[in-house]
């Protein structure tokens, strides 16, 4: 409720005794958007015009609202809240929904969990209200309009009865329409006949009521996808050293292995979440090229990964919770490693994983043949971890090459064809000399042209290219092309695309 004012108060170097209000334009008037505890005591409420508030209390600290910052802060709090449960949703503008089914016992019961959460929030400098209930609707109502605390299962009707109808998460119009006919509290509509209510105020009213009471299920959409496998470890004493982190990873991976084995799966994407004592969360993701479940292998990948992000890990005063989750898993047949030829593929995959973890998956590539006649598209690089089948493509390429007697292709292709200055004696012939990267080359022999048309269906493909294989006086062999023809007034541009051995 006081997210905006708490954010500003937290950022202040020194406490400011004046009441704090956050303002923003509503319609054409500067109004209060949020007020802190001191301002509330003075009777200031969100919605009040700033001019009026100033008239009543000239000594206010006024700050312009910044919804983007509030959203980011809420996102950060949500990140931190993941420590309680991975099933966490953001309820804008200032709420969080946590599905704690099956998690409360880890904290010694719901009361203790609630107390722990509120204590942490208070330590971070947030005025928070929290409620636990069997439904999202009831918890929402209790936290924002009720007495907070815990609403026991089956007590929803009692708890909700005295609360205003806005507690049902209804649109403003519905609430005011209900108020006009004298219905102000949830209790007022609990026992009314349903059909006339729905006819007059819409199905939405009944749906929200049913959701709050638990007669209709309401799904929670978590911020982050919930991992299929997860293991976590809280620490009484925060850890900070990389060695300790790695040891924890191995221990957690060993627990994941048991779960993975039971379902015959292996991990393809693993995420390590480290919860810092000050609330920040560090996430480090690794991916593998084949399903993995050996703790040693997972640890080895994190060794490389952490080596490349070590500074970014920034443990601060230490991590007090580590969680390892398998974000993507795949069936993984049990295999025998280290005997016979079959293991070679697995060996190579392990190497690729190690290199990818350290350098990044987009830096470890394999070459894939594509069905295209445009040279830079005919062979492209794909991340080696993607596990794309390559053999068929290259086999097709060799068959194609055998049938059409394709002229030789360069050994190294430049990332982008580089413009060169070239002089040709006959309009459609090869150049007699050209300049590339400040060096002149006299062409003593040339082979071509090989015309490669642009893709007619693509705007970007550009004009037809005439490729020439040329050799300069020193024996260097280049692959040049002229984009377009010598026609009309426009002079075509020459490019150098690759070099031959």
């Amino acid at each position: 409720m006081r997210l905006a004012t708490d954010r500003i108060a937290r950022q202040r170097p020194a406490p400011d005794p004046r009441p704090l209000v956050v303002t923003g334009k509503r319609g054409n008037v500067e109004r209060l958007a949020a007020v802190d505890a001191a301002a509330t005591e003075l009777g200031l409420k969100p919605g009040l015009a700033l001019a009026e508030a100033r008239a009543r209390y000239p000594d206010l600290a006024v700050v312009a609202e910044h919804p983007a910052d509030d959203r980011r802060l809420l996102g950060d709090i949500a990140d931190w809240g993941q420590r309680y449960t991975p099933l966490l949703a953001v309820d804008p503008p200032d709420g969080l929904l946590l599905d704690i089914a099956g998690c409360a016992h880890l904290y010694g019961g719901e009361e203790k969990l609630l107390a722990d959460l509120l204590a942490h929030m208070a330590r971070f400098g947030f005025a928070a209200r929290a409620a636990i209930a069997s439904t999202i609707g009831a918890a929402f109502a209790a936290a924002r309009f009720g007495t907070a605390g815990i609403v026991a299962p089956g007590e929803e009707r009692v708890a909700l009865g005295p609360l205003p109808l806005a507690a049902l998460r209804l649109p403003e119009e519905t609430v005011s329409a209900l108020r006009r006919v004298g219905l102000k509290r949830v209790g007022d509509i609990l026992d009314l006949p349903r059909a006339p209510l729905a006819a007059r105020f819409g199905d939405d009213l009944l749906r929200q009521l049913d959701r709050a009471l638990g007669t209709e299920r309401e799904p929670l959409t978590p911020v982050l996808p919930v991992a299929a496998y997860m293991a976590e470890q809280p620490f009484a004493e925060p850890i900070a050293r990389e060695d300790d982190v790695l040891r924890v990873i191995e221990r957690l991976a060993a627990r994941l292995k048991l779960m993975l084995e039971r379902r015959g799966e292996g991990a393809r994407v693993v995420e390590l979440a480290l919860f810092r004592t000050d609330g920040a969360v560090r996430r480090v993701v690794i991916s593998t090229s084949r399903p993995l479940r050996e703790p040693g292998d997972i640890r080895a990948l994190y060794v490389e990964r952490l080596a490349s992000v070590a500074d970014a890990l920034d443990p601060g005063f230490g991590f007090d919770l580590a969680r390892l989750s398998v974000i993507a898993a795949e069936p993984c047949p049990p295999e025998q490693v280290g005997f016979g030829e079959r293991a070679d593929d697995a060996d190579l995959d392990r190497l690729i994983d190690r290199l990818s973890a350290r350098l990044g998956a987009r830096r470890v590539m394999r070459l894939m043949a594509n069905d295209s006649h445009i040279p830079e598209l005919a062979a492209t690089s794909v991340p080696a971890q993607a596990g794309v089948a390559l053999d068929a493509g290259w086999a097709a390429f060799r068959r194609f090459r055998a049938t059409v007697a394709l002229s030789p292709r360069p050994l190294r292709l430049l990332v982008k064809p580089e413009p060169i200055e070239a002089i040709a004696t006959i309009p459609d012939g090869p150049p007699v000399r050209f300049r590339w990267r400040h060096a002149f080359h006299e062409v003593v022999a040339a082979d071509g042209p090989e015309r490669i048309e642009g893709a007619w269906w693509s705007e970007e493909a550009g004009p037809a290219r005439d490729y020439f294989r040329v050799e300069d006086q020193a024996g260097h062999r280049f692959w040049l092309f002229r984009a377009g023809l010598y026609r009309a007034a426009v002079r075509p541009q020459w490019f150098l695309h690759g070099t031959f051995a």
Binding site: L348, W394, G475, A501
Partner: protein, 263 residues
């Protein structure tokens, strides 16, 4: 299929011993152990190398100049393909190297008898990571050859680094190639050092790759210079007939010599 025959009288310890022996014989006898040397198929070169390029060793291949990188790459990749023996070949280079000199191009590799599906390209942001990745790759027995491109503008590779790589190669089942964009002057632990330059084609028109190859260091024997031409049909290097060409590197970049020859 391995069948283990066990006399009925052997106890359980005997069974284990027999199995161990069988496994050992399978592991060593299946021809997995690579040959000690990889012949290039060019008799004079194989002779000075003592049968061929040493396996499980570090070889340094340098371009004679920055402009000869393509030629040196061709030589390195052709050797890597031979050394790799159908296993994976890793090409490790810095980002800048790939931008400056181009990335290995699949169809072109195919021309040099290196099946593109065998190649894994690794790009690194820092030159130090090239050496790290090479060492890492040499530990993997699915890798047949590792080519690391070191640019001349980098701080270079000192004796310590090359000795480290050389040791890693020695323990591996692969060949390591350091591809340098300019010949190095510092001491090196490499088994052989080569300096490569392109050579003009013999016939009219650009022919197959033709290289002037200098072996400047050879642990096993003499050094020498040769003119090699890639044989597309046999997929190997041939010794280019020295009669059709005056001198291997009477290159155009030495104008006084060209002028002298013309005069």
């Amino acid at each position: 299929m391995v069948v283990v025959h066990l006399p009925s009288s052997v106890g359980s310890r005997g069974v284990v011993r027999a199995l161990k022996q069988t496994i050992r014989s399978v592991e060593t006898g299946a021809g997995r152990g690579p040959p000690a040397a990889i012949p290039l198929g060019v008799a004079p070169i194989d002779d000075v190398l003592g049968g061929g390029l040493a396996h499980a060793a570090l070889h340094e291949i340098a371009a004679a100049r920055e402009s000869e990188v393509a030629a040196a790459s061709g030589f390195a990749l052709a050797l890597a393909s031979r050394a790799g023996d159908a296993r994976a070949v890793l090409w490790i280079a810095e980002d800048m190297g790939l931008i400056e000199n181009g990335a290995p191009y699949g169809p072109g590799l195919d021309d040099l008898d290196l099946a593109p599906e065998r190649l894994v390209t690794v790009a690194t942001a820092k030159s130090r990571d090239v050496l790290w990745a090479m060492e890492e790759a040499l530990r993997c027995r699915a890798v047949g050859a590792v080519v690391g491109e070191i640019r001349s503008t980098d701080r270079g590779i000192d004796l310590l680094a090359s000795r480290r790589l050389s040791l890693a190669a020695g323990r591996s089942e692969a060949c390591a190639f350091l591809l340098r964009t300019a010949p190095g002057t510092e001491a090196s632990a490499a088994a052989t050092r080569w300096v490569i330059a392109a050579a003009p084609s013999s016939a009219a028109g650009p022919g197959p790759p033709r290289l002037s190859v200098h072996l400047t260091r050879n642990r096993r024997g003499a050094v020498g210079s040769w003119l090699l031409e890639w044989n597309r049909v046999e997929q190997r290097f041939d010794l280019a007939s020295s009669l059709s060409q005056p001198v291997a590197d009477a290159a155009g970049d030495r104008p006084h010599r060209a002028a002298a020859a013309g005069a």
